[in-house]
Amino acid sequence: MEWFDALVQGVLLGGMYAQYALGMALMFGVMRIVNISHGDLVILLSLIGISFATAWGLGPLPVLIVLVPLAVLMGWVLQKAVLNRVVGSDPLPSLIATFGLSIALQNLMLQIWSANSRSLPGHGIESQSIEIGGIYIGLLPLIVLAVATGLTWGLDLTLKRTRFGRALRAASADVEAAAMTGINPRAVYAMATAAAVGILGFAAVFQALRSTVAPADGPAQLIYAFEAVIIGGMGTVWGAFAGSMVLGISQAIGFRIDPGFGVLAGHIVFLVVLATRPQGLFGKALS
């Protein structure tokens, strides 16, 4: 029963990780770029949300409604000001640029909000739970999982069914060929990053609700997102979702074995997947 409980908690934790991983999978799939400041953006959005909530006494839902458009705008600006200049076949410029941004953001947040851990007041929602078959499940983690599933489903459908999704897939398959058919890659990239960071707006609210955030927490979120994407298999949205579940379950079981082992267990599962199935659990093997 204890292990079944760990499994359930792991799936719920995976819901949180999926919200980080979706944006990363989307950006890498489209631009072959990894934004090192991915995790720092989550923390920045969380801290902004907490400041809004305390300044105007907002509840979690209004904060979410304010934060997601703000995140979309941040993503769009990030693409226009930074990423459009470094996108290309050489990974070095984009890595260095976002690495520098990550250092600057972390320390800027440290100055504005100090090193203290903060969290978003949830007005009771964070402590409610429901009992299913002898296991108590927190209401908030359940909402997180539901939102993550919804976001994954929505993103998958957008990619498959809409005009924007077709443009994205075309640009990720071959930028030049896509440009020849009338797609403006820069515009597609800007929308992809806006969508990726917009999803981080959701992640920011939930992260701040279910635990605490501090300016130095960003790199850990980046690493979890990355591990989830690689475990699941690059190139598929549902792969990133499934990878998040595997990572969440690994960490939850690791924490049950020894509290010092939880995060390490996630890393080990990642390395084992990399050693035995480098294309990821749900990715297609390269011929």
Binding site: F28, R32, I33, V34, I36, V82, R85, V86, P91, L92, P93, S94, L95, I96, A97, F99, G100, L101, S102, I103, A104, L105, Q106, N107, L108, L110, Q111, P219, L222, I223, F226, E227, I230, M234, D258, G260, F261, V263, L264, H267, I268, F270, L271, L274, A275, P278
Partner: protein
Amino acid sequence: MSAIPYVANEVPEVLVQRQTRSGRIAMTLAVLAMIGVAAMPWWASTGTIRSILVLCCYIAVAQMWNLLAGYAGLVSVGQHAFMGAAGYALFVLAQTYGVNPFVAVFLSLLVPAALAVPIYLLLHRLDGPYFSIGTWVVAEVFRLTASNLPLVNSGAGMSLRVMKDYSAFERNVAMSLLCAGMLLVTLGGSYWLLRSRFGLALIAMRDNPVAAASQGVNVVKLRFLIYVASAVGCGLAGAIYFMAQLRITPGSAFDPMWANVAIFIVMVGGIGSIEGVLIGSLIFFIADRWFGEYGATYFVVLGLMTLLVALYARTGIWGLISKRWDAPWFPIRRKLVDPNR
């Protein structure tokens, strides 16, 4: 080449010029500086020796990162994994097993070498930017493992108490010699490598790996060797740094700060050149002394500078200088000159 028929006396007599006047001046200065570092106990205070030791570690780590990112195209943000691993190996050998610490410094290099092989075999499967974050995960794995490993006293860390058996002067002599040796191996070794036939292969690989492979460069093998060499170089810097610190903890041993330092130094100084590493190291060292007290603001500026260099001046300061004046300090080009003129 041999397929083209030619008459022997049509070949002009040329000399291959590999050294320039600026290179000779710089080489003389470098040798003098190296002797100066080795002779520090006779002219510098213990505090100065400590500062110069840190500067030497910056130079060594930055040059190792430069070899990886600037030539092999492997952008690692986790080289501190190998610094910490060698540091810990030194402490375990010297403190736990009673090996002479000055011998243990060299023995400890076996650990990063042995770890780098399987790690590279795992991580090279990751594509471009994902490789970088993979190296970061490995450094985190090392940190968390050290925090849970009773052999290295878990999270509490270790102290190098055996160093009290040596007088302050003896320690200063050893530190100075180790620093000079580290510079010789990392900078001198890189310079030698770049001037050798491997250097040609490396530069070809830097410019275009696919074209280099088509010219017969074994890109896969060369990348692997550079990764292992860089791990050992970073390990040497780590062992010397933590020997001077006399104390190691998982947090300090696997501190991502070193990745920031290496990236800042190489990008601002100028990637793909030894001159750039020296310029960047001096800038960072001086900036750290002058502005380090401003803490977070200082790092915001450092981060923004890295971002701006990546966006607008990818060749760094040395790139701008060498575009204006053709006076390399460490020339690696082969220039044909007519001896009759």
